[in-house]
């Protein structure tokens, strides 16, 4: 009985955030446009020297993905904090750390998944070889949920602050660095035609670790921020 109601609470919350995102779809599109624009700036700024673009491409796309994720984070808890829904979430009769997973999933579906979808296009713009594009998509698929999970902790810590944005990036970006290193390394290694299973294992390990610890840390941080 309680499992059933937990599952329905999870589903209701997930659906709520998706519906809200849909009703504000213009805002949701912003990080995605930002991602595409930032990546497009590099060929414009560096000149369309193909080998060079190939060399910097994986790093550029991943840095852009990082910044786009950072930009989208604020939306995860800010409006809930301002209208009081976050207090209500904390007072739910279900464990907060599980409800937080619903919110993070919604955030990823709305902001992370689109990045994965448009990534091949950007790979083509930066003239990455086909294998590298496939790996790019794979690393983004594994890596962007980590960004949402770690980001949730950062937003939860800064949600009560009036100018939390700068601090948020100071807290979150260092924690993003390992993802960036291994993911862009995997893509450029794949471009060189070398097996990348090791990097994928590492990213997988980070994902599992973030999945099991970040929700707890987020719930604890929200508790602190609301008190």
């Amino acid at each position: 009985m309680s499992d059933l109601s937990l599952r329905s609470a999870f589903a209701v919350l997930l659906k709520r955030d998706l519906v809200l995102a849909y009703r504000r779809r213009a805002e949701i599109a912003n990080p995605l446009l930002f991602f595409i624009l930032i990546t497009a700036l590099f060929p414009l700024g560096l000149g369309s020297n193909k080998p060079m673009l190939q060399a910097v491409g994986p790093g550029v796309i991943w840095v852009a993905a990082l910044l786009a994720a950072l930009l989208s984070l604020d939306g995860m808890f800010r409006s809930d904090f301002e209208d009081g829904s976050l207090e209500q979430l904390m007072l739910s009769s279900h464990p907060v750390s599980l409800l937080v997973v619903a919110k993070i999933s919604a955030h990823w579906l709305v902001t992370g998944l689109p990045l994965v979808v448009v990534a091949p296009l950007l790979g083509v713009l930066l003239s990455l070889p086909g294998d590298a594009i496939a790996v790019l998509v794979l690393t983004l698929l594994l890596g962007t949920p980590i960004l949402s999970l770690i980001g949730a902790v950062g937003v939860a810590l800064t949600v009560g602050l009036r100018r939390g944005g700068i601090i948020l990036s100071l807290l979150v970006l260092p924690l993003y660095v390992p993802v960036l290193i291994f993911a862009s390394d995997a893509v450029s290694t794949a471009a060189a035609g070398i097996p990348i299973t090791a990097q994928l294992y590492i990213i997988g390990a980070m994902l599992v670790l973030a999945l099991s610890l970040a929700p707890l840390a987020t719930a604890a941080s929200l508790r602190v921020s609301l008190s």
């Binding site: 309680s2 464990p95 750390s97 471009a191 060189a192 035609g193 070398i194 097996p195 299973t197 090791a198 990097q199 294992y201 590492i202 997988g204 390990a205 980070m206 599992v208 670790l209 999945l211 099991s212 610890l213 707890l216």
Partner: protein, 155 residues
Amino acid sequence: MTPRRKKRLYLVLIILAGIGTATGLALTAFDENLMFFYSPTEVRAGKAPTDHPFRLGGLVTEGSVERQADGLTVRFELTDTQEAVTVQYTGILPDLFREGQGIVSKGRLGADGVFVADEVLAKHDENYMPPEVADALKTAHEQGVQGTQAKTAVQ
């Protein structure tokens, strides 16, 4: 057990399982090739990229360092005691560069099998000792090697 305790226990178990899985994945990754540089053996075996810059690490082979006429370009062999790769570098070498020393160099592998480096870094080891001790150790080691050889010969 109260339902609350039970729930908490499940949660702890899930988290522990998560951490365990993560560790397992990470350890699997370390069994694969995840490294800062390639060794000469791997280069010889064709594991290093051909049209991509990479790092090559190894020991400078004794007696292999030759300076070109321009005084800046150096050629030397890097070895991991199994295989060796010839490295060519133009520029100023670090203090610690000498024969027998560990080196990490970054560059590309040419079609002729020569590694053209655009950066040479000297990797020093974790041993610290005064020169006289190092000498003494070296002699002792050589004697030790001779000793074992003598033993083998006797047997």
